[in-house]
C-alpha cells in the first residue's frame, strides 16, 4: 500500500515536467476529437428512430430543389433540341419555283441584318417529314404529289437586338413571295425567359428549404442539449472547455447533414431512374433527338458535403445559443 502511494506521489510530481509542448497539444486535440466523434455516433445510435426521422425530413427538404433542378435542366435541353439557331422560316407561296426561291435567297443574303440564308426544297422537306415517326403512312397516301413549298431559313446576325430581328421579320412578311413567316426565335426567347423565371424560383426554393433543413438540425440539437443538461454540467465541472462540450453536438450536426444529403441524392437518383423509361419512350416518338439527362455526378456528390456544412452550421448556432446559458462564469 505505502509503496504504491509513493509511486503515485512520484508520478504526480513528474507529470507537469513530462508534458511536451506542441506535439502533445496536437495529440491531445486528436484524442478529444476521437472521444467527441464516438460520443456523437453513440448519441445518434441511441435513438435510431428519432435520428432516422430527422434525416428523412432534412433529406426530403434537400431533394425537392434537386428534383426541380433536374426537371428544369431537361426542359432547357428540350428547348435547345428544338433548334440551335434563331432561324426565321419563310414559307414561299406554292406557285414559286426553284429559280424564284434562289433569286430571293440571293437578295436576302445581301441584307446587312442577315447572316445566312439556307434553301430547303420541297423534296428535302418531304424527306425530313418521312424521318419523323408516324408521318410515313400519311406521306404514302400523298403519292407523287408534294404539297410542300420552298422554304428559306433566314438567320439574322447573332449580334442583332430582338427589336431589330422583329423588324426583319416584319420586312420578310411584306415580301410578295412569302406565304408564311415563322419566327422560331421569338418562341425560343419566350421559353428562355420562362426557364429563367423557373430557375430563379428553384434557387429561392433551394434557399428556403436549406433554411428549413438548418432549422431542423438546429432544433434537434437544441433538444438534445436540453436533455443533456446534467451531462453538460458534469463536463464543465471537471474542466471541459466550451469547445469540448460543444464538439459532440457539432459532429452530430455534420452526421445529420451528411446522411440527409446522401438520402436526398439517393432520392434524386431514384427519380431519374423512374423518369428515364417514360422519357425515352417520349423521345422515341420525336425521332430520338431527345434524351433524358440526369444530374451530373460531381453535383450529386457535392450534395452530402454541402448538407454536412449546413448541419454543422445549424448545430453551431443552436449550441452557441443554448450552451451559453450553462457555461461557467
Amino acid at each position: 500500500m505505502s509503496a504504491r502511494r509513493r509511486d503515485v506521489a512520484a508520478a504526480a510530481r513528474a507529470e507537469p515536467a513530462a508534458r511536451p509542448a506542441s506535439r502533445g497539444r496536437l495529440r491531445a486535440w486528436r484524442e478529444q476529437h476521437a472521444w467527441c466523434f464516438a460520443a456523437s455516433v453513440r448519441r445518434l445510435a441511441e435513438r435510431p428512430l428519432g435520428t432516422l426521422l430527422t434525416v428523412a425530413v432534412m433529406g426530403f427538404a434537400l431533394a425537392l430543389p434537386l428534383a426541380f433542378y433536374l426537371l428544369l435542366g431537361n426542359v432547357q435541353r428540350l428547348g435547345a433540341a428544338l433548334g440551335e439557331t434563331q432561324a426565321i422560316s419563310v414559307f414561299l407561296k406554292a406557285d414559286r419555283d426553284a429559280q424564284a426561291a434562289q433569286a430571293l435567297a440571293a437578295r436576302l443574303r445581301g441584307r446587312v441584318d442577315v447572316a445566312a440564308v439556307a434553301l430547303k426544297t420541297p423534296q428535302q422537306g418531304l424527306q425530313e417529314l418521312a424521318a419523323l415517326e408516324g408521318f410515313a403512312p400519311a406521306l404514302d397516301a400523298l403519292g407523287s404529289n408534294n404539297p410542300l413549298p420552298y422554304v428559306l431559313l433566314v438567320e439574322p446576325r447573332p449580334e442583332l437586338a430582338r427589336a431589330a430581328v422583329t423588324t426583319l421579320v416584319e420586312t420578310l412578311r411584306t415580301l410578295p413571295e412569302a406565304d408564311l413567316v415563322q419566327d422560331d426565335g421569338a418562341w425560343r426567347e419566350r421559353l428562355g425567359a420562362l426557364v429563367g423565371v423557373a430557375r430563379r424560383a428553384v434557387q429561392l426554393l433551394a434557399v428556403l428549404l436549406a433554411l428549413a433543413a438548418l432549422l431542423v438540425v438546429g432544433n434537434t440539437v437544441r433538444l438534445d442539449i436540453r436533455s443533456r443538461a446534467d451531462e453538460i454540467a458534469v463536463l464543465q465541472l471537471v474542466g471541459a472547455s466550451a469547445a469540448f462540450v460543444r464538439r459532440p453536438y457539432l459532429y452530430e450536426g455534420i452526421w445529420y447533414g451528411l446522411c440527409s444529403g446522401a438520402f436526398a441524392a439517393l432520392l434524386v437518383l431514384l427519380l431519374e431512374l423512374a423518369l428515364a423509361g417514360p422519357v425515352a419512350r417520349l423521345a422515341g416518338s420525336y425521332g430520338g433527338q431527345l434524351s433524358f439527362a440526369g444530374i451530373a455526378l460531381p453535383v450529386l456528390l457535392m450534395v452530402p458535403l454541402l448538407a454536412a456544412a449546413l448541419g454543422w452550421l445549424g448545430a453551431r448556432l443552436a449550441s452557441a445559443r443554448h450552451l451559453g446559458a450553462t457555461l461557467p462564469r
Partner: protein
C-alpha cells in the same frame, strides 16, 4: 496553496453567504470546513472551483489570484483540482470506467495511458472489478467512490469535497474519509465541507468552523479532540 483574503460573498438574492473570511491552507494539508447548513461551506468550495466569484476580497489558489481568471480560463483552472460532490454527479449512461476516464479525455491523455491511470484510480478506491458496470448498479457508497476516483485520476494538487459522506452510513463514511486522508498522505491538499462533527473529530485534522458566513474557529489538527 489556498488563501482567502477578506472574502465576502453576497448572492443576488441578498443573502450574505460569506463575510470577510480570511484563512490560509498550506500545500499538503487536509482541512475540514464545518458549520450548520447555510453557514457558507458550499459557497467556500464554489469560490475555489470558480463556480461562484467573491463579491469582495481575493481568493488565491496555488499562487494565482482567481479574480484574474477570465471565463475562458475557468476550465483550465478546474482541471487543476479534483471535485467530489454529495450527489456524486456521475454520467449514468456511461460505464464506471468511462466516468473515471472523463477528466483524462478532457486533458487529452492518449488511450493506453488513460486505461492505466483509470485502473490505478479504481484500484485505489477498491472498485477495479466494477469498471464495466454502469454506476446505477452500484451502491451509494460505491458510487461515491467512483466520484472520488474521477476526482483523483488526473492527479490534482487540490481535492475538494462537498459533503462527500452526506448520503452514507457511519461505517461507509469513515472508509471514505480514510480514503481522503490517504490522498493527503501522498501530498494532495484536501478541503472537505462536512457537518458530521463526530466524523471530523475522529479524523484529527485541521477544522475551520463557519457560522453565518463568518469564521468562528480555526482549530489545528492537534487541537481537535
Amino acid at each position: 496553496m489556498i488563501r482567502f483574503d477578506q472574502v465576502s460573498k453576497r448572492y443576488a438574492t441578498g443573502q450574505e453567504a460569506l463575510s470577510q473570511l480570511s484563512f490560509h491552507v498550506p500545500p499538503g494539508e487536509m482541512v475540514f470546513v464545518t458549520g450548520h447548513s447555510g453557514a457558507g461551506k458550499s459557497t467556500l468550495l464554489k469560490l475555489l472551483a470558480l463556480i461562484e466569484r467573491p463579491s469582495r476580497g481575493a481568493v488565491t489558489l496555488d499562487g494565482q489570484n482567481l479574480g484574474t481568471v477570465r471565463a475562458r480560463g475557468v476550465p483550465r483552472l478546474r482541471r487543476k483540482l479534483g471535485m467530489v460532490f454529495q450527489d456524486h454527479r456521475l454520467l449514468l449512461d456511461r460505464s464506471v470506467f468511462a466516468n473515471v476516464e472523463l477528466p483524462l479525455v478532457i486533458a487529452g491523455v492518449p488511450p493506453e495511458e488513460r486505461a492505466k491511470r483509470v485502473r490505478a484510480a479504481l484500484d485505489k478506491v477498491g472498485l477495479l472489478a466494477y469498471e464495466k458496470q454502469p454506476p446505477a448498479l452500484l451502491s451509494t457508497g460505491e458510487q461515491q467512490r467512483v466520484g472520488i476516483a474521477r476526482a483523483i485520476v488526473a492527479k490534482p494538487a487540490l481535492l475538494i469535497a462537498d459533503e462527500p459522506t452526506g448520503n452514507l452510513d457511519p461505517q461507509l463514511s469513515v472508509e471514505i474519509m480514510q480514503l481522503f486522508a490517504d490522498f493527503q498522505q501522498v501530498g494532495t491538499t484536501v478541503v472537505i465541507a462536512s457537518h458530521d462533527l463526530m466524523l471530523i473529530k475522529r479524523m484529527k485534522k485541521r477544522v475551520i468552523v463557519l457560522d453565518h458566513g463568518k469564521l468562528i474557529a480555526d482549530l489545528a489538527a492537534a487541537e481537535v479532540a
